[in-house]
């Protein structure tokens, strides 16, 4: 996948920061919110940015490792059931995206057992069927996917970013669903960061301590197969279809000047791949939440992200953390367009 990512507009970013300082409040007194508004401006290349038409995109895929090893307390059959629940508007992300005024796109990147017929969908939700296969192979035993599958999944993600941009969306919030995918994400991150499995393995959606150890052993065996350690190679060897789609979506989102809001651990690991593939993508990324997954810290450090916006102990995924940040982004944009300046106030022009 070859993308052209325009440089983040530092000039517009600084202009927006200066406007924030000139508004009717002490300079800097809205802290991080001011930076968020300026960040939107820098991504979009416009001094009055918007976050009025956010799009939540949830990539879903199944994982061979979930069936072959006890790395998750939920059966793989939960993936297609949750995709149905997203579509029906009754999952956590459906509710949070709805409250944030976002449209939702659910992308089937390879969900095993998802019924072929139409899935009834709620308003503001669209389901896109682009399955690469019925799930990845068991990454402990063999490469999770072929290079061709990985490229195809990246294109699926890039197309989702293009649809968002073409449909007038002004910010994208990315999430995922896939039973077993914290294992894949931890494996990819461990390979790219050259760290042992134990540093990245965590409880995921709810493993106990023995479960985390089992998972770490499985990941270490996968690492010990000695697959490639370049970003695209590691992604194909150890990742998931939804992770590859996330990588493509992140790259193409930045190429379309879209601010990209990252959810937690799995999206973070995918962002790490994207940044290793093209460092110009980095300034377009915002980490929404610090995940409850302990390995997230190492991923954020590698991305050079000091502090996610929220630290609320979320560990669900689905883009739930990213969705919670969207109202803040819209508010930050409106500060730039709707507030009086201090000069206006002091000179009776309000």
């Amino acid at each position: 996948m070859d993308v052209h990512i325009p440089p983040f507009d530092e000039h517009i970013f600084n202009e927006a920061r200066m406007r924030m300082d000139a508004l009717a409040k002490p300079p800097g007194s809205l802290g991080r919110i001011e930076v968020l508004g300026a960040w939107l401006a820098g991504c979009q290349g416009q001094s009055r940015p918007t976050a009025e038409r956010p799009r939540v995109i949830v990539f879903a895929g199944d994982h061979g490792v979930a069936k072959a090893h006890q790395v998750t307390p939920y059966p793989a059959e939960v993936t297609p059931l949750m995709v149905r629940t997203f579509a029906a508007g009754r999952a956590a992300i459906s509710v949070l995206a709805g409250q944030a005024g976002a449209t939702v796109e659910v992308v089937d990147c390879g969900v095993n057992g998802l019924p072929l017929g139409n899935i009834p969908t709620a308003t503001r939700v669209q389901v896109v069927r682009s399955p690469i296969g019925p799930g990845t192979r068991d990454l402990v035993a063999e490469p999770a996917m072929t290079a061709a599958q990985c490229s195809a999944a990246m294109r699926v993600g890039a197309e989702a970013a293009d649809r968002a941009a073409n449909q007038g969306c002004d910010v994208i919030a990315l999430g995922e669903m896939g039973i077993g995918n914290t294992t894949a994400a931890a494996a990819v991150a461990a390979r790219l960061l050259a760290r042992p499995a134990a540093d990245l393995a965590g409880p995921g959606t709810g493993l106990d301590m023995a479960g985390v150890s089992r998972k770490a052993v499985a990941i270490q065996r996968a690492l010990d197969r000695g697959g490639p350690s370049d970003p695209a190679g590691a992604l194909a060897d150890l990742g998931g279809f939804e992770m590859a789609a996330l990588v493509g979506c992140i790259l193409q989102g930045a190429a379309r000047s879209l601010p990209v809001v990252l959810d937690g651990f799995i999206v973070g690991a995918s962002a790490l791949v994207a940044v290793r593939l093209d460092p110009r993508v980095r300034p377009y990324l915002l980490a929404a939440t610090r995940s409850g997954e302990p390995g997230h810290r190492a991923i954020l450090a590698a991305l050079g992200i000091d502090e996610p916006v929220l630290d609320l102990g979320l560990r669900l995924g689905e883009a739930t953390g990213a969705a919670l940040v969207l109202p803040m982004l819209r508010a930050a944009a409106h500060l730039l367009s709707d507030m009086a300046t201090l000069d206006d106030v002091l000179n009776g022009r309000v």
Copy 2:
């Protein structure tokens, strides 16, 4: 002021937590958001709480200490100008409240030089004129207000809580405006916590280091006058009209079973007075943000609040931090009412 505060409904709170656990996600995987939803339920005494009709209330008052001592970089004349800006819908809180779908009430508790005629107001904003006087007296030299003035200001705040409840609001978010009021708030908190001024004095809206020291000296001189240390006495001796109104509003808000969202440092100090007056108010309080003001930490610790929801370096006041949390509360409430249960999902009922 005599209020009857109903006990926070622990039974409904626990019921809501159990429902959160039963929803279509791993138990606890939405972290703090789950607790926020259950907190709303416990305050409102209903298992399907709402945060659909939030009311932001900003209490404004002037401070004699601001004119007599260099405790703030802004002249006292800024207070009435900002009240006008709130009313006109062009201040930071106007924008953030609007984005949160909240109505705004600005209560003049004693703003010096606020024009007597009608102030043109934006939609969704109401201005209530209940001035106790043209600002407090200089708290360094003498009691800031009389006991009668303090009681009257508390009643003004209680009436604002009653208006919100009577108008069908389901959550209140409290803020303030008053040049000089971090000095008053630090003085009240230092007296109640029996700590030296230097522990509570901070930069406020933008003092430099020498300014903070001047402020600490002024506060210490006020403390050394040796005024009363009971909560109502300390409030009258060292506080502000808007702080007393906040105390009355917090007490009456809890009495009306309203969830009360606290903004930063000054609202926090007022909440400390309210809790000392009636500890039953405590469970109705949510700390929205960790203020950039260093003394906020001591106040939160005294309130038994471990972590505010947000930590974004806000130090503006006006209820801006509280307003940013409102969309999260509405989202948390909707999880309880709109999500499918895991049982529904696993049994094909979605």
